[in-house]
């Protein structure tokens, strides 16, 4: 039988040894430089704060290749057969199929990506994993709507109300096809047939098609625009400055709102696989997911982070924050959509 003194000595030894053991377990990246392709501005700053700083604490170095995902995709095309220009790439649903078809991404070792364990099959495939959900709907000025006696818009075509004439902004096709698909579904269309939406939009005679969200946020703040199809992230950021915005997720077929995913993948041919895996896994951690979600008004994939955000009444008012609500939003079939055809039609019918 072990005596009390020996027991105490063993416990002390365990306390002394534990930190060293933990440190030994912590993966180190001394001398490793990882190149991450991501968006610029405050998004990059947040990536550095939440993931990059932790990587650097472990001895590594981070270099950011900033630009939108399409530009970075073009860089991969130009570099085909050569060393890739970056190791990890962030993108959205619209580039998911082109990236898969081009074969630029390496298989993700999900056995080692412990933070992806809770992902559903819809949130990951062999080479990509979802990092957040973007929630598209209608952002509107609640005070103006109240003054006009208008109720919360229930469908995209509610924006064509005469009382709102000249005060509605509609996204240009370069923003994404979400709103035009949503409008098309009101007359039997969908992402494979946007013609009904284009016809309806043409008839509505919208005067202002916005190309930049910064431009739109300025117009919302100045009171020039009262309603626009937009995503909840911007509603969150603008409402924080006391602009009286509200959010509606209009009917899209039998669902409400449209969702798109942020995704991440490791580029084939990279020379820093372990570091890239660390990056992806850290991105999916509850801590990073929640902080990123709160700051940008995007819904985390991680269930615990989503749950934590649900407790914030400000966010809960503007976002879909339950798995049920998110699951009930319309998800575009990115495998079948022909974006170039939609853009072509847009240019012929709306932008001419």
């Amino acid at each position: 039988m072990i005596g009390n003194r020996r027991c105490l000595a063993l416990a002390l030894l365990a306390v002394l040894v534990m930190p060293t053991w933990t440190q030994a377990q912590e993966e180190r990246f001394d001398g490793v430089t990882i190149r991450v392709a991501t968006w610029g501005g405050s998004w990059r700053d947040r990536m550095q704060e939440l993931i990059g700083a932790e990587f650097e604490k472990r001895g590594g170095k981070v270099e950011y290749v900033i630009g939108n995902a399409l530009e970075n995709f073009n860089k991969l095309i130009a570099a085909r057969g050569q060393k890739p220009p970056f190791d990890v790439m962030e993108f959205q649903s619209d580039l998911w199929k082109p990236l898969l078809d081009a074969g630029f991404l390496a298989p993700l070792p999900f056995a080692r990506l412990t933070n992806a364990a809770g992902h559903s099959p819809q949130q990951r495939d062999d080479v990509t994993v979802s990092t957040w959900t973007l929630e598209e709907g209608i952002v509107y000025n609640a005070d103006k709507f109240k003054a006009l006696g208008l109720s919360k818009p229930q469908k995209y075509s509610d924006l064509f109300n005469d009382k709102l004439k000249g005060r509605v902004a509609w996204p240009d096709i370069s923003y994404g096809p979400y709103a035009i698909i949503g409008l098309a579904t009101e007359d039997g269309g969908d992402e494979l047939n946007v013609d009904p939406g284009l016809k309806r939009l043409q008839e509505a005679g919208i005067g202002y098609y916005y190309k930049s969200s910064v431009e739109l946020s300025t117009k919302f703040a100045s009171g020039d625009v009262w309603a626009a199809p937009w995503h909840a992230g911007w509603a969150v950021r603008v409402k924080r400055t006391n602009v009286p915005l509200a959010m509606s997720f209009p009917a899209v077929k039998d669902r409400h709102g449209i969702i798109a995913s942020g995704m991440v993948g490791i580029v084939k041919g990279n020379e820093v696989q372990k570091a890239a895996e660390f990056w992806v896994n850290r991105y999916l951690s509850p801590e990073v997911q929640e902080k990123l979600g709160r700051a940008n008004g995007i819904a985390p994939i991680n269930a615990a982070a989503l749950n934590a955000m649900r407790g914030d009444p400000f966010l809960a008012e503007l976002m879909l924050l339950t798995p049920e609500d998110i699951g009930n939003a319309y998800s575009i079939n990115w495998a079948k959509i022909d974006l170039s055809q939609i853009i072509d039609k847009w240019n012929r019918i709306i932008a001419r």
């Binding site: 501005g41 950011y64 130009a78 220009p85 911007w234």
Partner: protein, 279 residues
């Protein structure tokens, strides 16, 4: 008899008013940016007129903007210097020589002006990859790579600026120097170059401005740690907006004005503008 200044006619008054109107119209976007940068509070949009006065955002400009400005200045200076080094002999050849195919060569030297910048960016990127795999020399996302790309865009302007001054240079000046025993090199150094100096300054200034403000080529040829200021601003605006952007833009604006004043004081801006406009 006391001289009486003639009263300005109605037409002169209208022209002056129009001139000031145009000036205000041209400068108003810059004034809005500068004024909006003084607004307090964090907001993801431009607020004008500002709700108050604060220099807060001037102290909150992220370091990446200053780094990008430093890198852009270095690239633009390299481009300006290299473009005049190329442009001087090219302009001398075009203006002074007579050879078969001169028109074709002149057209070729202007060809970069006809090519969209995005196409130039992709073409250079592909070329750098090919060069890298063939020789091991990797120019993508490097300082020399970006300067080369910008050189392609800026050199036609520098050639035009120098050639315009050179064409107006009286050849008798050089003939006189030569007849007094000066060697061709001495004539070039002591007569030709000093006379065409405004053209050289003008060419360098145009090259600098083109390089400093260029986005599409830098977007493709830049990379990790090699981001120019306009690309940094462009990509920031694509995702988000911070009043710090207005602050850093105003700071760059003030620096640009300071440089223009410096040029005016040292060499005379009129000479530079004349050289450029004579293209």
């Amino acid at each position: 008899m006391r001289y009486r200044r003639p009263r300005p006619s109605l037409a002169q008054g209208a022209a002056t008013t129009l001139m000031f109107g145009v000036l205000v119209f041209l400068l108003s976007p810059l004034l809005v940016v500068a004024a909006a940068s003084l607004g307090p509070g964090d907001r993801p949009y431009v607020s004008f007129p500002p709700a108050g006065f604060s220099l807060h955002w001037y102290f909150e400009v992220p370091a990446r903007y200053w780094q990008a400005i430093g890198f852009s200045l270095a690239v633009a200076a390299g481009t300006a210097l290299a473009s005049v080094v190329i442009a001087i002999p090219a302009a001398l050849g075009l203006v002074r020589s007579s050879f078969r195919g001169k028109t074709f060569v002149a057209l070729l030297l202007r060809a970069p002006l006809q090519i969209p910048y995005v196409v130039t960016g992709i073409a250079f990127l592909q070329a750098y990859y090919l060069l890298g795999s063939a020789t091991g020399l990797h120019l993508r996302a490097s300082y020399p790579g970006l300067v080369l790309g910008h050189l392609f865009l800026a050199t036609p302007y520098a050639i035009g600026s120098i050639a315009a001054v050179l064409a107006r240079l009286n050849p008798r000046l050089e003939e006189a120097a030569a007849s007094l025993g000066a060697s061709p090199w001495r004539v070039l150094r002591r007569v030709t170059l000093p006379v065409i100096l405004p053209g050289i300054y003008g060419g360098a200034l145009y090259a600098f401005i083109i390089s400093f403000g260029e986005v599409p080529v830098a977007l493709f040829l830049g990379g990790a740690g090699r981001t120019t200021f306009p690309v940094e601003m462009f990509t920031s605006m694509q995702f988000d907006f911070s009043p710090a952007l207005l602050a850093v833009s105003t700071a760059v604006l003030l620096i640009s004005f300071a440089v223009l004043i410096l040029i005016q004081r040292s060499i005379g801006f009129d000479a530079v503008v004349r050289a450029g406009s004579a293209r």
